[in-house]
Symmetry: C2
Subunit: 483 residues, 2 copies
């Protein structure tokens, strides 16, 4: 066993697991123990050595239950994993133990008008492919549409493409129901619906293993992609905001990316992107095209690209527009310049435009603006995902503080805990549910500060460090970019 601090009875575990597929090869275990944590230089430093001891690949719900029971009996931590595309180390087993790879639970179980039920490990794009015959698709998906699992999205994501119309996963109604397994001597199966789903959604798998997910569907329209350019950043942002507020122009994406980010990093779209222009990415229902053209003309926006105008041949050579947006903006920048990282902020309504302009005016060179417009509590506003030309962790903290001083909440992507990455407070319902569903604290240890350290002062500005991390201390440095 590779654990320095604790060691687990992995041999005993294997004996209990019978025919269930597992993997212990350290290189492979290590690969399945990481996600996109390296997006953050801070997390890269902290988590590079993290690895589990064994990976299990259940092929059915019954096998999941058997694994949980066995781990419970031997007090072995279990860290669930969908596709490992999270980018705060959410799926990394800080205390070692078993990585529960759910990619084998990939069945789409039921599709009816307005609703789909799938197993947690199903890939998001595969669910949509199954729904296409009925003219439907998921309301929301992360920009990791083609690689992420639905269970991982619900447990670790927040929203993304579609949030301009439907808000985020946090909104009541964007997750219909969840079927989960508890971490107990005899794991129970629970069906959560209504607001109960919020006890387990965005809990990083710390208080239940999601087995099945039931999600609302929206019509699949074959979205038209548009890129609109503006000389002035403030104009681009104001246009995007106003487009968001056009209630009858149905959209799936409205993103603003300040120059020179698009020109420097969107390599395959480069020829559409004149130097100096700030751009707005739009995914649009085809029925709204004429209305959108009129609207864009009023704003003197320059149409740089339209998927329906370039023809299918040319469009096929390009990545989908959503793979320039959300966290993919950062990924594209990182691929060109590994010294880039980013932040996640919320520009609160109704001051989103003036705040975004202020920040961009002040930090635009070091932290070029990237805005994602969304519906948030019934209003249009924008998240910020500014790129950061990284110099030091200290400077990164300064930039965070600068945002917070302006009244801009930061969801710090350089933290691996629920509390520090989120609203800087413990979700009491999630904690209470963990007491019920994981009384021994074996699920994804180290991610919920309140569990291990109820007295930790979240307001004090000190970073939480999970003690278990010491166990990985002796390990070699990890490879860089796993993509």
């Amino acid at each position: 066993m590779t654990s320095a601090a604790k060691s687990y009875d992995i041999a005993g575990l294997k004996a209990r697991l019978g025919g269930i597929r597992t993997e212990e090869n350290p290189a492979l275990v290590r690969q399945k123990s990481r996600d996109f944590y390296w997006y953050s230089p801070t997390l890269k430093r902290q988590l590079d050595a993290v690895s589990g001891d064994i990976v299990a690949f259940p092929a059915s719900e019954a096998e999941v239950l058997a694994i949980l029971a066995a781990c419970h009996a031997l007090a072995i931590p279990v860290t669930p994993r969908g596709a490992g595309t999270g980018n705060y180390g959410q799926a990394m087993p800080l205390d070692g133990g078993l990585v529960l790879d759910l990619s084998g639970l990939d069945k789409v179980l039921e599709i009816v008008p307005g609703r789909v039920r799938a197993q947690a490990g199903a890939l998001i794009a595969d669910i949509d492919a199954a729904c296409a015959a009925s003219g439907q698709e998921l309301r929301l998906h992360p920009s990791t549409y083609r690689t992420a699992s639905i269970g991982g999205f619900v447990a670790g994501g927040s929203g993304g493409v579609g949030s301009i119309s439907w808000g985020g996963l946090r909104d009541l109604g964007n997750i219909v129901s969840l079927r989960i397994a508890t971490m107990e001597a005899t794991p129970r199966i629970l069906e959560l619906t209504g607001e109960e789903v919020q006890t387990v959604s965005h809990a990083y798998g710390t208080n239940g293993i999601i087995l099945e997910v039931e999600m609302p569907l929206a019509p699949a329209y074959g979205w038209t992609e548009a890129i609109i350019g503006f000389e002035d950043f403030g104009e681009a942002a104001a246009y995007a905001n106003a487009l968001g507020e056009q209630d009858a122009i149905l959209k799936k994406l409205v993103s603003v990316i300040a120059a020179p980010v698009p020109q420097s990093y969107f390599l395959r779209h480069r020829k559409y992107l004149p130097d100096g222009l700030h751009i707005v990415l739009v995914m649009l229902a085809p029925v709204a095209r004429a209305a959108f053209e009129s609207f864009t003309k009023r704003w003197n926006g320059r149409t740089l690209y339209r998927s329906d105008l370039v023809g299918p041949e040319e469009a096929k050579g390009l990545p989908p527009l959503y793979e320039l947006a959300w966290n993919h903006t950062t990924l594209r920048a990182l691929r060109v310049d590994p010294a880039i990282t980013y932040l996640q902020t919320l520009y609160p309504f109704p001051n989103q435009l003036s705040l975004a302009e202020q920040v961009h005016a002040r930090l635009g060179d070091e932290a070029p603006a990237h805005l994602e417009f969304v519906r948030f509590d019934g209003k249009i506003t924008s998240f910020g995902l500014p790129l950061i030309r990284f110099t030091s962790e200290a400077r990164l903290e300064e930039i965070v503080a600068l945002h917070e001083d302006l009244g801009i909440p930061v969801f710090n992507p350089h933290r691996y805990t629920l509390e520090e990455g989120g609203m800087k407070q413990t979700d009491a319902a999630q904690l209470a549910f963990k007491r019920e569903a994981d009384p021994q604290g074996l699920l994804n240890p180290g991610k919920m500060i309140a569990w291990a350290h109820p007295d930790f002062d979240l307001g004090a500005g000190r970073t939480y460090l999970f003690l278990g991390l010491e166990r990985h201390a002796g390990r070699a440095g990890a490879p860089g970019d796993p993509t």
Copy 2:
């Protein structure tokens, strides 16, 4: 001919119309010359004697063009008519002449994902019935769903059921395109799209005859109906507003109706409506039921009725919920108490709740509150359609003034002109388009003040009176309620 002031060459017209079906029987012409203008005691007094001279019933586009050319040649006014459910006298031929009944142009022409094209006279419910096979329906409909035409809705309506998700007809994108005929020696056919549709939509047919309408579609979910009760009016309004702001709970209707209106006038729902409770009417996508229940519980709302809980037998005996809402609230009140009338107001965001509470506190007995929550310029806010226990026109004007003094715009439903019923200003684009499409001013005369009276001072608070109305002066009083 019945005209006192002018007389038209109706015999010459008939000779030109050949085989096109017409009707001259005065009682029948009179019936086709009126709409729901009697909702307003003011309009009832002003318009009771209005009648056209002849009604034509074209069965095809070619017949419409032939009628327009003939009327143009003889300088006979043409007032288009869909189903005559407008309630400001929009479809009433103030200057006599020909009533163009478009109910024969009722074909649904094309249904594709996201979009339907129909002839202008098609009834809205019939369009939805045709779309049902593809799981689709219109985004928006007036509460006169089962009786109104799509052309009349576009030309005379503003929104209604569905506006909580999609805004109103005024929003770019809620009308995809219009095919219209101009009123010229040789009528032209134009296809309007993008913002061009706004020159003809809500112009009361004064600047073009709509032949075909292309509208966006949304999924048809078989909406769940709910009635939620509150002891406190302010709570009911705040709940409705917050429900509107739930981005992931898909709704088609959120209406607040203050006690004792529901208890007094919603006769077939009476048994669900305990005395004293203010109610919220909701049409809800079935997929959102559990989320809606959680949400309603947080607000301590009392579920008085749910269509999915009473069973199909019981639900079948009730009118659909939307026939308690929008202008149907007033209609139900009028049926019980003919002395009731109403107003139409907008509670501007972000003060909608405090303004609605203020007005209701001040006028609640005389003008019990009725709020329709909608998306308006990207935010949730509410229209007011307060019932008015009518005493005199002078008092009605006082109530209007009281609203305006509080900063609450009134769309006065006691006026038959575009300008006075709307934003108290001339729509320059509509006027310019009328110069092109109806240079002789023969379409629905008297409805666009700016055409006949460019110098009329809209700000002066004086009511506009169309001179042509004198021609009807000698006529007998009209029958009361035509329903």
